[in-house]
Amino acid sequence: MAVQKAPREGFSEALIRLGHQHEDLVVLDADCAKSNMTNFFKDQFPNRFFNVGISECDLVGTAAGLAIGGKIPFANAYANFLTGRAYDQMRISVCYSNNNVKIVGHNAGTSAAQEGATHLPLEDISLMRSLPRMTVIVPADSLEMEKAVEAAYYHEGPVYLRVGKLPVPIVTKKEDRFQIGKAIKYRDGNDVTLISTGIMLDETFKAAEALGKKGIQADVLHIHTIKPIDVEAIATSAAKTKRVVTIEEHSIIGGLGSAVAEVLSEHCPVPLKRIGTQDRFGVSGKMHELLDFFELRAARITATAEKLVDSALIK
């Protein structure tokens, strides 16, 4: 059984490590420092931490100002309130002004759990993906989160980083190379391509294994960077397997599924099934209950992939 760790823990640890190395790194929060674990950064670097209170728009604007002032700010808040409420601030003060701000959306996906619909971010990737110049990163687990934080720091330009609150299995490996914009190929197969993002990599691995037992060999691509998306990796795999399933802990509208659909339709039109949440709001529940509720599970991935393979054989 894989070790479980909350992505926010990896985020917090990486932030502190980078904080020791780089004087210009500053952190902002909007009254969720304990929940977002930015309070540990505050303990170590009190001068370089700014809690602006419950005001996401001001948070993003202040971060942009700090960037103009020569700092590299990480602006933290719950993903929904950040991407929804402060969208225009990201658009004008961050992206259009081309300020080097790192936007960190916490409580991602089902990890908002029992907080319910208002707190469950299922549209944040879609919103962030639409902003010119914004890089969108959705790590799979705590270990990959650490690499993502580092990459975001060194990346010149606006970044949106999606961070989950609750423990999930660590499924990536230390030696996996993390490069912004590059997909990671985790499994080779000729029958179907499974493309996942974020914490769905775990269920995707399980599905690939189950499919293998049934004689269906899946190509598994992990897309940690939704934008810019790795067109070449997706098109190459699709050209080989001729059918694709996307898996995300986010609405199928505007997220990974949409991004892959755009790539396929222009570069390699093959059948695609998108697994994610439908056009709806969330509910309250434990994280594992929500993953069941939304059917973000290996069983559905397996069934969907099988059906795709079967339908192709019938033809």
């Binding site: 602006v52 728009c57 604007g61 100002g65 103009i68 601030q89 004008i92 003060s93 300020n99």
Partner: protein, 274 residues
């Protein structure tokens, strides 16, 4: 420190030149915002020519003071002041709003020398100023951050979120200039959503407030000087101004908020600005 008489004469002439640019630019583009540009002319001219520590030859100089035009619509006056200050050629003003130019309708931080951030969606400038001021304090640098906000713009909630931040973090290196011209796009501010006791609001938010006549260069000058000496809290300069100031038919009406003069109106306006 008071404005010396020779400097005052110089600035007075300069404000006339800038007002001529404003009407010519908007006439050239056939659109733009002359009213709120004309109300801010003395404020921005005195700020850039007498107070701000900037170098037009090195617009991104790390020690510079910064300015954010939060009421981003008023590019005619902003671009004119920047051009006269030497950030880019004065002739370029006549490319205002041209598709192949860089002087877009609203400021673009990336392409225009001297513009520190893009604006045009209202309410965002004070947060930016706060961020720069925080960075300057962290680095122990004497940089100051200026921001111009409209009174109508102050209906945006972010202005007040940011005003709380400035005061909470004791950012005395922030100076907000409120171009209080009493008019917004649709009508008088009082008829849309009034400011009530505007001065008391800023004071209640923890700011040092200086109330002035925004067209009186002596007033404007000493307000900026005073702001530099206030310690422990930020300063808001509440400047009473007249929308469309300097051109009789544009004064004190919302009609010229976002309207460009035609040929005849341009001629009339320029006659008043000799």
């Amino acid at each position: 420190m008071q404005l010396e008489s020779n400097r005052k004469e110089y600035l007075q002439e300069l404000t006339k030149t800038i007002r001529r640019h404003i009407v010519k630019m908007t006439h050239h583009a056939g659109s733009g915002h002359p009213g709120g540009s004309l109300s801010a002319t003395e404020l921005l001219t005195d700020l850039f020519f007498e107070h701000m520590n900037v170098d037009p030859n090195e617009p991104d100089w790390e020690e510079r003071d910064v300015f954010f035009l939060s009421k981003g619509h008023c590019t005619p006056v902003y671009y004119s002041v920047l051009a006269e200050k030497g950030f880019f050629p004065v002739e370029e003003l006549m490319t205002f709003r041209d598709v192949d130019g860089r002087l877009h309708g609203h400021p673009c931080g990336e392409h225009i020398p001297g513009v520190d951030a893009s604006s045009g969606s209202l309410g965002q400038g004070l947060s930016l100023a706060n961020g720069v001021a925080m960075a300057a304090k962290l680095d122990g640098k004497p940089r100051r951050a200026y921001v111009m906000i409209g009174d109508g713009e102050s209906q945006e909630g972010q202005v007040w979120e940011a005003a709380m931040t400035t005061a909470h973090f004791n950012l005395d290196n922030v100076c907000a200039i409120i171009d209080w011209n009493k008019i917004q796009l649709d009508d008088y501010v009082e008829n849309i959503k009034g400011m009530k006791d505007f001065k008391a609001k800023w004071e209640a938010f923890g700011w040092h407030v200086i109330e002035i006549d925004g067209h009186n260069l002596d007033d404007v000058h000493s307000a900026f000087e005073q702001a530099k000496t206030v310690k422990g809290k930020p300063t808001a300069i509440l400047a009473h101004t007249v929308k469309g100031k300097g051109i009789s038919f544009m004064e004190n009406t919302h009609k010229w908020h976002g309207l460009a003069p035609n040929d005849e109106e341009l001629e009339l306006a320029l006659k008043e600005l000799v």
